[in-house]
């Protein structure tokens, strides 16, 4: 049953997403898109985009959205619940250890390895999305509008640390509208 599999998969994803919502992205990519093929990669990116723009933590939004696409409202609820369930156990366990021993030394060792690892994983997804958006596989060419948007976005994000990602995405959407009507895409 898909709903049950959805629960298992998101439970596992919730168990492994160290560092918050963005860590879930490579995990969802591997489990749901590559392994199961329940979603296309492009659709997945659309879901992330929307999750980025809606209120609430991005991890929850993504779980809800993916669950919705795969199994309707029930899928959304199941995916989200499964995603946060591991947190309950682990957080309370860590809090107990923290209270008892006043430090999480053993955990620090684990985290010192996992944190850089997650950065590498997120980088991988970022690169995949970049390639998908900028490189046109069938025509073997680069889409310069997309490349421009990417470079402009990255420049803005690096220059203005506090800029809202929503602005950037909306700006990109606006350019998309213009480009569409100018027959550039």
């Amino acid at each position: 049953m898909i709903i049950f599999e959805l629960f298992l998969i998101f439970f596992q994803i919730g168990l492994l997403s160290f560092g918050g919502g963005y860590a879930a992205v490579p995990l969802i990519e591997q489990h749901i898109i590559v392994d199961k093929g329940w979603l296309g990669f492009e659709e997945f990116i659309n879901l992330i985009t929307i999750a980025e723009m809606t209120p609430g933590p991005i991890g929850i939004n993504t779980a809800t959205f993916v669950g919705m696409q795969i199994g309707g409202i029930l899928g959304a609820v199941v995916a989200t619940t499964a995603y946060i369930l591991p947190s309950f156990f682990i957080v309370l366990a860590l809090a107990y250890l923290f209270n008892r021993y006043k430090s999480l030394n053993a955990v620090q060792g684990v985290l010192s390895g996992i944190r850089p690892c997650i950065v590498g994983l997120i980088a991988s997804v970022g690169l995949s999305i970049f390639i998908l958006s900028v490189y046109n596989e069938s025509a073997n060419s680069i889409n310069f509008v997309m490349l421009f948007i990417f470079l402009a976005s990255i420049a803005l994000l690096r220059m203005y640390k506090k800029i809202s990602p929503i602005l950037i995405i909306m700006g990109a959407g606006l350019i998309g509208l213009c480009a569409y009507y100018l027959h550039l895409i």
Binding site: S17, F18, G20, Y22, Q30, V34, E42, I45, N46, I50, E52, T54, P55, G56, P57, I58, G59, I60, N61, T64, F65, M68, A76, T80, I84, P86, S87, I90, V91, L92, A95, L104, G109, V110, S112, G113, I114, P116, V119, L121, I122, A123, S124, S128, I129, S133, V134, V145, I149, F150, S153, I154, L157, R158, P165, I168, I169, G176, L177, I185
Partner: protein
């Protein structure tokens, strides 16, 4: 009984309100939680909150949810944790569900597709920017071990599609090993200093 219910409801509604008005992910919600539960409601001490944030970042999953669990549990036990978490996840659950209905209705529209396609480039930039931010924090430490892990993880997943759980387990194991090597190194140099001091 009534008093308890009011407490649960306070937890739920506070978390609900904060979550509904926070856009974006990660640590954005932290100052808001602090303001509400430490400053306004005075249910938690500031240094307790700092401890919770540390633990919340050490556990997997969404940081906002992890913090909600700790705050709720501290204030009103397990049910308190459930109430707070429910408050945190209900806004995104409801809003995202509604939006997904619209998304499915419009996604085949040519204009919407073009707009979404352009947004992809922006999202790629946002994600890569996060990599720069997180990577920068690691680079500041000036140690080679994290770089090796970062590069290895990237190569493993991008080129070889290794299962992420194995990459994480490997990184965790290496992390523990490296951590204890560092501790021994520090101890050795401390001992050496003592000897030289004599």
């Amino acid at each position: 009984m009534k008093k308890n219910f009011k407490l649960y409801f306070t937890l739920f509604s506070s978390a609900f309100y904060i979550s509904a008005f926070t856009i974006g992910g990660g640590l954005v919600i932290m100052p808001l939680l602090k303001k509400k539960f430490v400053d306004d409601l005075k249910l938690i001490e500031e240094n307790e909150m700092l401890d919770y944030m540390a633990v919340a970042q050490s556990a997997p999953g969404v940081i906002a949810v992890n913090t909600s669990i700790l705050i709720g549990y501290r204030i009103a036990g397990f049910l308190g944790a459930v109430a707070t978490v429910l408050g945190t996840i209900l806004p995104p659950l409801i809003i995202t569900s509604i939006i997904s209905v619209f998304y499915n209705a419009f996604k085949d529209n040519e204009i919407v597709a073009a707009v979404l396609k352009c947004m992809q480039s922006a999202v790629a930039a946002i994600i890569i920017n996060i990599v720069f931010d997180l990577g920068g924090k690691i680079a500041v430490q000036k140690k080679i071990f994290p770089f090796i892990i970062m590069a290895a993880a990237f190569i493993a997943v991008f080129f070889y599609n290794v299962k992420i759980i194995y990459i994480l387990l490997g990184a965790a194991a290496l992390g523990v090993v490296n951590y204890y090597i560092m501790i021994r190194k520090n101890n050795n140099s401390l001992n050496k200093e003592k000897e030289d001091g004599k």
